[in-house]
């Protein structure tokens, strides 16, 4: 494994922030850590970054325990972001890359192409404080990857980004992946994670509740979700045999079926009562999994045998 977390644990003043967490992150993939606020994502990432030390457990990068030399191999975008406001864009970029061990001469040649890619080239010699907030976010992203790191770690990547910049950065990340870089990010924006990740891990109350490739995670939750789009009152559907749960959205109804229930049986019954425009059997959305899993009471999951795998 490229990056490996082995039973790491962190307590803050008696409160467990991360509990016996193990992760395997292979090289060259996009790995998403999802979880509700306060689940322990940032603490986990800070431990990988060696900013805080775990109380127990070990973290390995490329077969060696992470230490100060890891810092040059990683590009890190923390949740709390900021840049030197009084410096010019190129000064900030050179300094940040120098702190990552990349000499100024080497960085200077890369600045223009990155600024161009992010539509910031005309601001090159302006001060950071002259930029809008969105532009500062993009600049911050450039400083994260400017020194050509092997692994890129992004905490709450999408917070504060508008859809256009989000798209821009997503494309850069996909380019980086194609270039063989490993990307690890945390988010609670499920739609983005769903589109971007190869592998995913969900943390809740400091514990891992889901871990695997995107498709395996979804398969794990089975094809037990049905979306129907009907005309008329669909309230009766809730009480049909085999329907475990019904969620009404504005334009459609989502059903979660009991184990062994046959979707076609339900379709037959519904078709007899109301007009059906659409009936689709689908994988559960990450969003749904997220909501379900976040509800899991950690004390309960502890009782059923550690509960770190669902």
């Amino acid at each position: 494994m490229y990056l490996k977390l082995e039973n790491i644990r962190k307590e803050f003043d008696g409160k467990v922030a991360v509990d016996n967490l193990s992760l395997d992150i292979p090289k060259g993939i996009i790995f998403g850590i999802i979880g509700p606020n306060g689940a322990g994502k940032t603490t986990t990432i800070r431990m990988i970054m060696n900013i805080i030390a775990p109380d127990a457990g070990k973290i390995y990068f490329d077969g060696r325990e992470v230490g100060d030399d890891f810092k040059n191999h990683v590009g890190y975008l923390p949740e709390e972001r900021g840049l030197y406001k009084k410096l010019t864009l190129s000064e900030v970029m050179i300094y940040m890359a120098e702190l990552k061990g990349a000499p100024a001469s080497q960085t200077r040649g890369r600045i223009d192409s990155w600024l161009n890619k992010m539509d910031l080239l005309e601001y090159k010699d302006r001060k950071v404080e002259d930029l809008s907030k969105g532009m500062q976010q993009k600049l911050q992203f450039i400083t994260t990857i400017l020194h050509d790191p092997d692994i890129i770690i992004l905490d709450e990547l999408f917070s504060g980004l508008d859809p256009i910049n989000m798209e821009l950065i997503k494309n850069v990340l996909l380019d980086l992946k194609r270039a063989g870089k490993t990307i690890l990010f945390s988010t609670h924006v499920m739609e983005q994670a769903e589109k971007l990740c190869d592998n995913i891990c969900m943390i809740s109350f400091g514990k891992k509740v889901i871990d695997g490739t995107m498709s395996s995670v979804k398969a794990q939750f089975g094809k037990n979700t049905v979306q129907i789009d009907i005309e008329g009152d669909g309230a009766f559907i809730k009480d049909l045999p085999g329907v475990k749960e019904m969620t009404e959205f504005n334009n459609y109804i989502e059903l979660h079926l009991a184990e062994g229930a046959e979707p076609s049986e339900i379709l037959k019954t519904v078709i007899g009562r109301v007009k059906v425009n659409r009936f689709e059997v689908m994988e559960p959305s990450l969003y749904k999994i997220f909501i379900d899993m976040a509800k899991v009471d950690p004390t309960e999951s502890q009782r059923d045998d550690g509960g770190d795998n669902v």
Binding site: L77, P78, G82, L83, E98
Partner: protein, 438 residues
Amino acid sequence: MSKFMVILKREYIQVVKKKSFIIGIFLTPVLMAAFMLLPAWLAQKKATSSEMMAVLDNSGTGMGERFAEALETYKLEDSDEAYYVVKNIFNVEPGDSVKFKALDDSLKTEINDKKLKYFLVIKPQPHLSDDSVYVVTNSDNFTTLKRFEYRLSNLISAVKLEQTDINLPVDSVLKLTRRIDLQTRNSKGEAIPFMVKYFGGFIFVMLMFGMIVTYGSLVMRSVIEEKNSRIMEVLVSSVSPFQLMLGKIIGLGAATFTQVAIWVLVGVGIFFISGSASLDISSDITRLVFNPMIVVFFVLFMIVGYLLYSTIFALIGSIVNNEKEAQSFIFPITMSLILPVMVGMHIIQEPNSTLSLALSYIPFFAPTTMMMRIIFLAPTVTEYSLFSGILGESILSFIILVISTMIIIWLTAKIFRIGILMYGKRPTLPEIVRWIKY
């Protein structure tokens, strides 16, 4: 280039290229010189215009007239005109209090209207009590008062003499008396005037204090800025907190020494160009400034004192959220530096007292205390010993300072790495103690 050097370089350049740094290089010595020299220059200012005065003599001895006569010896610069012009001498019989009161009031009005600068009042029996001769004025000119004192003392002696049966002319009696200004010489036989040592000590201590507080608080501000703008987390993902802290302290320290070095070079340059004999006090100052012990220990105490205090400033920067919160911490720091200056008179007068020695061995007070003691004691040393006397004490004080500074740096590094990532609530003391153990 190591990361430590990258940080050091940035912190250094950031300060050195600022306009305030360049202005400070020129302005500080100018202000300091002005501060030191202006009063002296004003006091020595040559008299170019006469001062109006009057005498109200209520003694009936004719002393007022004789006083006015005596003042005629004081002339304006480069002219024959009198410095003190006595406009009126009012002789009032002793006991005529109505007339005395009226004149006294009208003269006071003239003082207020600035028509007169002084008027001298001589009450009956002037030779019996100090209260019976006084000057009314709104400006206490040191030189003038000295002159009046001298002349009046002579006149009172004369009055006293007339009332005895000693049959001698006044002048011959006065010739027999002489006042002395007592000079001091140290055990080496040198006479460095007290004022030179006093101001010498003052300059060294203020320079040290000013540099430590100015640049130490820059370390703090730099940390607070990076904390506030949330750059900190990116920084510590690139460098270790210790590299960051030390890079800042030493980078800004290098800027401090650049400033001092420029002053020293310019000062030495001026000294040699102007020629050492051009100022009469220069030989005394030379002996202070070029005393190797003073110079060496000034540099040593300044470097380690700066390290100690800037580390504490870095510590404060790491645990507060903004400069406002930091204010309450800065006061005790500046107090601990300035305390030796406040008890400075004692240290200067009793450089070997228990208090002076105790302050020398408390690291926070050591730099400023030792500077004052060394300036007063080093020129008197005839035999240097590494284990006793001022040299031995300086070495011991310095060793204590170095060890304490190392301990403080070690403790601060532990608090710093946690503190810089803590936002919001200011940590309590027990929390900070817990950080040390993390």
